[in-house]
């Protein structure tokens, strides 16, 4: 079916159509700009992530350089040497008595998140002790 529509004010209609078309084009341009912004932001977030990882490494280095850590290292060395000597004794015993299958300790994988949570808890405990 064909309709004939009487337009009272063709100028206004033309203007409305043009304005709607203009808005569509402007929205398209804005969308392109928005995507550029989004890419820029995502890029910056990746860079920030890398910065934080680097910061974590430097902080660990600093922690190693500070006295408490040095003391811990010394203690660690001592306990490790003790462990080694006790291990030697144990391995000799184990050779004599073979272990049963499936009774070993489960293999726990420590994730980065676990490590962060552990460190955070340790720091919070220390702060609580000081206050």
């Amino acid at each position: 079916m064909t309709y004939f529509s009487r337009i009272e004010n063709p100028k206004s209609l033309r203007k409305s159509i043009l304005e709607a078309a203009k808005e569509v084009l402007v929205l398209e341009v804005k969308q392109k700009n928005f995507l550029e912004l989004k890419d820029k932001r995502e890029n910056l977030i990746l860079q920030l992530d890398a910065d934080l990882a680097e910061l974590s490494t430097i902080t660990k280095k600093l922690d190693d350089l500070l006295p408490e850590k040095q003391l811990k290292k010394e203690l660690y060395k001592k306990t490790e040497s003790k462990k080694k000597t006790s291990k030697k004794v144990r391995t000799k015993k184990q050779k004599a008595q073979p272990q049963k299958e499936g009774h070993g300790q489960p293999d726990h994988k420590i994730t980065e998140m676990d490590r962060l949570e552990y460190t955070l808890k340790k720091i919070e405990d220390k702060i609580a002790q000081l206050s």
Binding site: I7, N9, A20, R41, L65
Partner: protein, 73 residues
């Protein structure tokens, strides 16, 4: 009152250097964070502008619709 303590730092220069590294890296990270915040604000503004323009477009379409519908034969 707590008594002061003295701690021995073996590699003092190294500690100072590392501290500076931490400070510099933190400043860099802060700069990036500020840039991200700025972009996020721009994005918010863009979304608001989209909304306004879409409303305007809706209005235009309503107008066109009424123009075409008013005197249909």
């Amino acid at each position: 009152m707590e008594a002061p303590i003295y701690i021995k730092i073996n590699e003092f220069d190294n500690v100072m250097k590392t501290l500076k590294e931490v400070k510099d890296k933190t400043a860099q990270a802060r700069e990036k964070l500020e840039a991200i915040k700025k972009i996020a604000q721009q994005e918010d503004m863009a979304v608001r502008e989209w909304e306004e323009r879409m409303n305007k477009m809706d209005h235009n379409l309503d107008e066109i619709h009424s123009f075409l519908n008013s005197k249909t034969r």
